[in-house]
Amino acid sequence: MSDKAIIIKNLNKSFGDFKAVDDLEFQVEKTECFGLLGPNGAGKTTTMKIIYGKSEHDENRETIVDVFGHNPKKQSLVIKSFSGIVPQQDNLDTELNVTENLNIYSKFYGIPPREAKKRIDELLSFMELQEKAKSNVRELSGGMQRRLTIARALINKPKLLILDEPTTGLDPQVRHLIWNKLRDLKEMGVTILLTTHYMEEAFQICDRIIIMDKGKKMLEGKPRELLSTNLEKHVMELYGVSKDGSDSTKALDAAGIRYEFHKDTLFAYSNDSEKLAQIGEMLKESEYYIRHSNLEDLFLKVTGRSLNELQ
């Protein structure tokens, strides 16, 4: 058995002519939090589904999918018995209350009733849902439903937690709460694999990420390092600039500053914020705004600023 949590090599998945995953390769270390980033349709969810056997990859001799020493095509039940899975969409039993929802899942894992009861109490307090133990799922807010879905995935004390866009559509408080819980879980030795398109999420909790686009891996590394090696430190945004031959582009060209347009906004990148500010002041052509570059800029640089047909 290898010391890696997940090994993916030469992974391909096609739906007809459409290649959802294209020659993907990555490895997840034990007890790290690993993020798959990419726009909609990048193949993140498909990759996750392959890992727990919900989806089957294309037949190929060189393909390796190894999850704690198990192959999901043959041993998906074993993988699922030590994993917790949080799907993109909450699919709780809305006719039942919070405790019943967890209890039903405890049966799926074959957890003895007495142990399950203890475990459910633990999880409700861990996810801060004790007061809602007897509430009907329908009465819960979106954030509570999400927390319950995560609690449900933890019922079997998983060593691998797989989350598909865990905080999409949630308000900032709940997002921070969930991030804290995921950090706690990592401390307790859980390996976490998640997909997201929130760059902040990746920055907050992921040890390493890959950025995917159109089924391919574009970049891999630690969030901060990826940023420093692939992108200038500062970004200036200029609004309402005409595309060619304007003073601003000439000035930027003269200063040797990289820039690109997205719709009506010009993005200029440099490690020197003073330089950017000088140009911004000089132009007076429009309003400007200088900020630190973030993972979002990197993401957009790698995956392109235009929308694809799935977005």
């Binding site: 919900k54 074993v78 699922k80 899975i85 039993d93 899942y105 799926f108 074959g110 060593k159 307790m188």
Partner: protein, 263 residues
């Protein structure tokens, strides 16, 4: 909390029972609205057809029309409940509520989900036929003690219509298509499978069709338990039919649903 998971994959039977348990739990969560209709429906049918129409209808073979009808209703109620469960119910869990997507995150296979669901439909068939029996016992229509075994035929009926309905569900794209199944197949079967009149009275061609469709066989089995001297070796052929029917439609259902769920 300690995250040294040491749970094993539960055994096959335990997995299926856990799926069954989920369905029972959800069914019982609205017990009143779910448990009343099985008792009301046979009452209405027997009052309308049996008492009203029955006065003008001569005895059927060796039994009164009301007894004849009552012994048929034991299985038709099982048929309809299993058919609804495994068409609309399954489709909603599959496509709208994504309940199955969640369950497939637990150590369950698609087969486990299907078998658990079929077992639940069988249990519902048992419960619905028991409800009819209780009504006809109380009304004094059926008095033969062996009639209690007709509930087992209700269970078998539930299983049969679960497998065939799940197969239909696996090929249906739109939930409204189930209307064809109900009005095109199940409703005619209700009238031409010996529930309201003996199939022996049908013209040859229709009699042949009646022998092909599943309901005729379970009606014959259930009725045999409801009257003294009803049991005979010929019924083994009907049982054999049920077994073959379940195997074939069950195989088709598993194949179809799997194709739909594992992509």
């Amino acid at each position: 909390m300690n995250y040294n998971n040491n749970y094993k994959v539960p055994a096959f039977l335990q997995r299926i029972l856990s799926v069954w348990y989920r369905h029972v739990k959800v069914y019982c969560s609205s017990f009143f609205s779910n448990a009343l209709p099985p008792f009301l429906e046979p009452l209405i049918m027997l009052a309308g057809l049996g008492i009203g129409l029955g006065k003008f209808v001569p005895d059927m073979g060796n039994m009164s029309f009301v007894l004849f009808l009552a012994s048929g209703l034991i299985v038709t109620s099982a048929m309809f409940t299993a058919a609804y469960e495994c068409t609309f119910g399954t489709f909603i869990r599959l496509e709208f509520d994504k309940i199955y997507d969640g369950m497939l995150g637990a150590p369950l296979s698609v087969n486990d989900l299907i078998y658990g669901e079929i077992l639940f439909a069988g249990s519902k068939g048992f419960f619905f036929s028991l409800a009819v029996l209780i009504v006809v016992w109380v009304a004094g229509i059926v008095t033969y003690p062996l009639s209690v075994f007709a509930t087992l035929i209700g269970f078998i009926t539930g299983i049969m219509f679960a497998t065939v309905s799940m197969f239909i569900t696996s090929i249906v794209k739109n939930i409204n298509h189930f209307n064809f199944y109900f009005s095109g197949l199940l409703s005619p079967m209700f009238f031409f499978s010996g529930v309201v009149f003996p199939v022996e009275n049908l013209p040859k061609g229709l009699l042949f069709i009646a022998e092909i469709v599943p309901l005729t066989h379970v009606v014959r089995l259930a009725r045999a338990f409801c009257v003294p001297g009803g049991l005979n070796y010929g019924l083994l052929l009907d049982l054999l039919y049920c077994a073959v029917f379940v195997l074939i439609t069950g195989w088709l259902a598993v194949r179809g649903i799997k194709k739909r769920m594992i992509v």
